[in-house]
Symmetry: C2
Subunit: 691 residues, 2 copies
């Protein structure tokens, strides 16, 4: 429908020629415009923060708009890119009973966009509606024809219209006024689809109303889309010596693992903290309090005589080794993400140099982290209130230091235990200089603090995904992340972490690992895997939700190749999932997941669709995922699909191909599915255009 070449800043299926943003006189002191609007999206509840999106994301712009009486209205969206390119887009009414109008646009330029809605009386639509009914009923036919002719005269006089359109409009006006043309023939003009198209692109506007300007922050694509892999570099290439001690892996030995991670198709490699680890009160295996001399300690107990947050653990190598490691990863297409954990081991240099950055108790001691009556004696939490300026300056220095080493992604440890206003300040300050830097909030807490962190600037957020395992839980979760919170929160659906090995994985067997990976890789924009998942590591420390012999406190020795050679690795499946993600732009979207009905209480089904006009490939992309989330059974059911989602009228056959197995079926509205958890628990179906 677009009648001009889109600028490179947007993709839209409803772009129309730009027109000047002049409007009816503003009515001083009156907040309603002549044709009013109510709430809109994208927006953040409460209105204090601006919504956000990522480059290439198809963002639905939605507004409630209405006018008095029965006359027809139109709604336009005026977008202005960060570099100042303006485009105009036509919204369509959703007919949902709430006067909702919507258009989806993919924004291609990073930075702060401006957007505003424009409402107007659609004089052509108003006339056409009345003329069609009244002329057919013989009510005021001459009057209706003359009114139409005047409308067409006015449109034909617009110099910006294509010449052929102007000629057609003039002819139509003439026909309507021609007394020798009977009313039936006049009705053909009223219903002329070509004239309707002319007015769709350049409407006959009255009472043009410009509404407030809003902003939308568009971040780089990696803020919203990516497949993450987490490993401990000290384990990659660690060797057990003949004397039983372990020689730590280093950045150099870990470099050897990079091609395999890249070959699995991951985009981001996230490392737990790489800094010196405290010696005082160091934790031993399985979180015990008595570390032996060979125990490496938890990387999150940061700082020792060897340095603090700006240093590299000597056992991993030097700062130069780290830079080489970052470069080697980049050559493999892997971007490095570092951990930012603002806490200190008791022997962190901060403790002696800046005791005011901690809490000193009445007995003169520094307060450990605690959850009364428990104390965590390997960690001092930072007190952000004694010297807020000093702390901010230091953290900013550390972040800038790592940015200089080539790091642009920070996975922030427990941000919900530090002041929200600190994060808002830090992220804004860093992004002002480095807009590409992405902060991921590792906050597992109540919904409001998690949302507040995202609203305050975090580009990405850990989520409740690992604890959403039943069909009902999964559906509710997917609906929430793809709609309710999508204007400000981009969840990263990690399937496991060093802290999280859920009961579902502990007791779900290998099917559980497959199911969770497929859901994570297809439902959100970003997902993550912590090393060992592909080896089905599923034994927990008794009474906990973590792996036994947790890598946080010791080295892990894993034989990736042997497992894969024995057919005992999930790596090939992860590789295929990431291939599918790369081939299908619909899966690189967060918004617009559509839940589908199924008649079984363990079969979850959803579709993601990206129309051709919004797709980077220029082709429409539609994926249907059907997952049996009961890892202990085979299930059969009927899945209900509304093909109007991708523009195919209901009741028509279409072909689907399972992108994992290659199987093909013909589908329609109601489709039989059998999913055996022990064979292939998830269909990832590509909807094929029928030739």
């Amino acid at each position: 429908m677009a009648s001009q070449t889109s600028p490179a800043s947007v993709r839209s299926s409803a772009e129309i020629p730009l027109r000047p943003a002049k409007a009816t006189r503003k009515d001083a002191g009156v907040r309603n415009g002549r044709i009013p609007i109510a709430s809109h999206r994208p927006s953040v509840p409460g209105g204090r923060f601006a919504p956000s999106a990522f480059v290439g994301e198809a963002v639905p712009f939605t507004v409630a708009a209405f006018r008095e009486g029965h006359d027809r209205i139109g709604v336009h969206l005026r977008l202005t890119s960060p570099s100042g390119v303006s485009t105009l887009h036509r919204l369509r009414p959703l007919e949902d009973g709430f006067d909702t109008w919507q258009v989806s646009v993919a924004l291609l330029e990073q930075g702060t966009w401006k957007f505003r809605f424009e409402t107007f009386g659609d004089d052509y639509a108003t006339w056409r509606h009345a003329a069609e009914l009244k002329i057919a009923a013989g009510v005021d036919p001459i009057l209706m024809r003359e009114m139409g002719a005047r409308l067409f005269d006015g449109a034909a006089a617009e110099k910006t219209r294509p010449a052929d359109e102007r000629a057609a409009l003039t002819t139509a006006a003439h026909t309507l006024r021609d007394e020798s043309v009977d009313d039936d023939a006049a009705l053909v003009v009223v219903r002329d689809p070509g004239l309707a198209r002319a007015f769709a692109d350049r409407p006959a506007v009255s009472l043009h109303t410009l509404h407030e300007e809003n902003t939308l922050l568009v971040e780089r694509e990696r803020a919203g889309v990516g497949a993450w892999y987490e490993f401990f570099p000290r384990s990659e290439g660690a060797e057990r010596m003949p004397d039983g001690t372990v020689r730590s892996g280093t950045f150099r030995t870990a470099t050897k693992r990079l091609p395999a991670v890249a070959a699995m198709g991951f985009d981001v490699l996230y490392l737990p903290p790489i800094h010196p680890i405290g010696e005082v009160n160091r934790k031993g295996p399985n979180n015990t309090l008595d570390a032996g001399p060979g125990d490496p300690g938890s990387p999150w107990a940061i700082g020792s005589a060897a340095g603090g947050h700006d240093a590299v653990h000597p056992a991993l190598g030097t700062l130069e080794d780290f830079r080489a490691f970052v470069d080697a990863a980049a050559e493999q297409g892997l971007e490095m993400a570092l951990d930012l954990a603002l806490q200190a081991a008791p022997d962190h240099p901060w403790v002696t140099e800046h005791p005011e950055w901690f809490t000193t108790l009445p007995d003169g001691s520094i307060a450990f982290a605690e959850n009364p009556p428990k104390k965590y004696q390997d960690i001092y939490p930072v007190n952000f209130d004694n010297d807020p300026v000093g702390i901010r300056t230091e953290v900013l220095r550390i972040v800038q230091h790592w940015i200089r080493q080539g790091v642009k992604i920070f996975r922030v440890d427990n941000p919900h235990t530090k002041p929200l206003q600190f994060w808002e300040w830090l992220i804004r300050t860093v992004n002002a200089e480095h807009p590409d830097v992405v902060f991921l909030a590792e906050a597992f807490t109540r919904p409001m603090p998690m949302r507040a962190l995202a609203q305050s600037g975090f580009q990405q957020s850990y989520s409740y995904f690992t604890w959403r395992n039943t069909k009902t839980e999964i559906e509710e979760f997917f609906a929430s992340i793809s709609d309710e919170t999508a204007d400000f929160m981009r969840p990263n659906l990690f399937v496991n972490t060093p802290d999280i090995l859920t009961e579902y994985l502990q007791f779900g067997g290998r099917p559980a690992y497959r199911i969770r990976a497929a859901l994570a890789a297809t439902a959100g924009g970003s997902y993550g895997v912590y090393a060992g998942y592909e080896l089905y590591e599923n034994v927990a420390r008794p009474g906990s939700e973590e792996n036994i012999d947790n890598e946080k406190y010791e080295y892990k020795f894993r034989d990736w190749e042997a497992a894969e050679a024995a057919g005992d690795s999930l790596a090939p499946y992860l590789r295929r999932l990431n291939e599918i993600r790369r081939a299908h732009p619909a899966l690189r979207q967060l918004r617009g997941l559509h839940l589908l009905g199924s008649d079984d209480d363990a079969i979850v089904a959803y579709a993601k669709h990206l129309p051709a006009a919004l797709s980077p490939t220029g082709e429409s992309d539609t994926i249907i995922v059907v997952a049996n989330v009961d890892p202990h059974s085979a299930r059969e059911t009927t899945v209900h699909v509304d093909s109007e989602l991708w523009g195919l009228p209901r009741g028509h056959d279409y072909d689907v191909e399972d992108l994992v197995t290659g199987a093909r079926w013909t589908w329609n509205e109601h489709n039989y599915v059998r999913l055996d958890a022990f064979a292939e628990p998830v269909h990832i179906l590509h909807v094929k255009a029928r030739s």
Copy 2:
């Protein structure tokens, strides 16, 4: 709990001593406060308009508030009345998983209030929580005791505390530091409820954070609460003459009906337009196009040679008669509401004096109202865009004219067919000079325009009530009006109007009239009855939802006394409903309706509760309504009540009295109920305190 006399401006169960509104340094450019908040209520979605309430309404002030880590917080509400009196109120956490804090306050002064939330670290609560766990576990007891002693020292030094409290705090500090006091005895101090109370009223505050100031418009009580009665004055005292013609009722004859309306307990008397009625294209009986010479026409076809919107219909009397009628009503406790219908009969003086206030068609004629292809030839709609200033000036003049005649309530006819910004301007302009004037929006349209009218200034709104008849519909509707829209919309639950005689009333028999009146009178703050309802007038014009022989087009002759004497009138029931409303302040509330469960699909149950501290009587008031909404059956079921709503722990017996029949029962959590639609379809139960 309040330790001081409340100023007359509020009623609150959580008022605490005022303290200065000083807070931690504001962090320039950072939008989060040190202890942040997220969305709050009262508020209007979209944030462009201020929320509103009415005098005496118990308004829940709600905010999501949280801080980093585990330390405890407190939240205060600072209210400033229009006359500048500030009060402070303690919010309590709702423990709903969404960090919601709430306090309800009844605002007693009309005008624009300011309110802001304040958050702070609650150092006493943080210490008490840690001390209780740690001392009991033998972890750092000396340290915890010293920290408590310092906290108490600080509080004891506050000169604003009562002397006995300061002494108790000093003693507690001494005890905690006394080495001869063992830890078990120290724990008694930690748990001391008297000390907890001292800190509840005057908390030990750290990181005090002041949030943005918001406004809340509090309108007079009648904006939210009232029982309305509607009659056509021309019918009251109309007489059929021997020659078959009718002599119109007048303001003088209608005056005779006032005592009966007042005796039924109504607060507001609403009159359809009282202006001259157009002669041109006048409608005849049952909306026919051929009015006879004796047909009085529709009062909404305003204007004739006798005058327009500022004139009184000569058949009703003079302007002086109208003023006398207003005065007579006031003497009976009835406030007058006039209709404001901005449209003109073809012979309205405006049409010749100001043809620019209408739409002129290409053929030179003025456009009738229409819904294509239908035309309404007795009405010209006003065009607000040709001469907006002229129209505004004229309408303002008319409204001010009627205000001078003693009218302070306007029922606005079809406001959704006029520009929203016109209403926003009119209501703001009128209220600036006359804050007591109430506008009721008669808009039956889609939800968004209805809400927008309320948000833009209408004090009161007609609602979907008449079309919500099944249990599910009623529950959803009551939940919506008492919560979702209550910050900006005050619905008037008319049970019928000259335009609305629903199928439920047409076919539900007399039980239907009783059921609908009881629901309307008890669920919202305002409700209304159009004359004839008490006579069970239930015959519709075939194919329509209006009464046959509609009073809009003719005179009605009703013998109220005869019907009541024959026991064939609902008037005694309406009288009792209005008595109950006057006696029970819980029923004069809009917010805070609590749906109760029942096991029958036609039995609706809900409770309204006003705590003693918020009640004008100083006594707690709790009402439980149980209604069988199936007018054709007797039903039995169990009604489930959570008595914690009014502070009685679950599982306790309590007494209820049916305020209609006087019957008494003992109730508990699960209560058997039998409701026979043909006998008494609704219980209105008053919960009695047990002696």
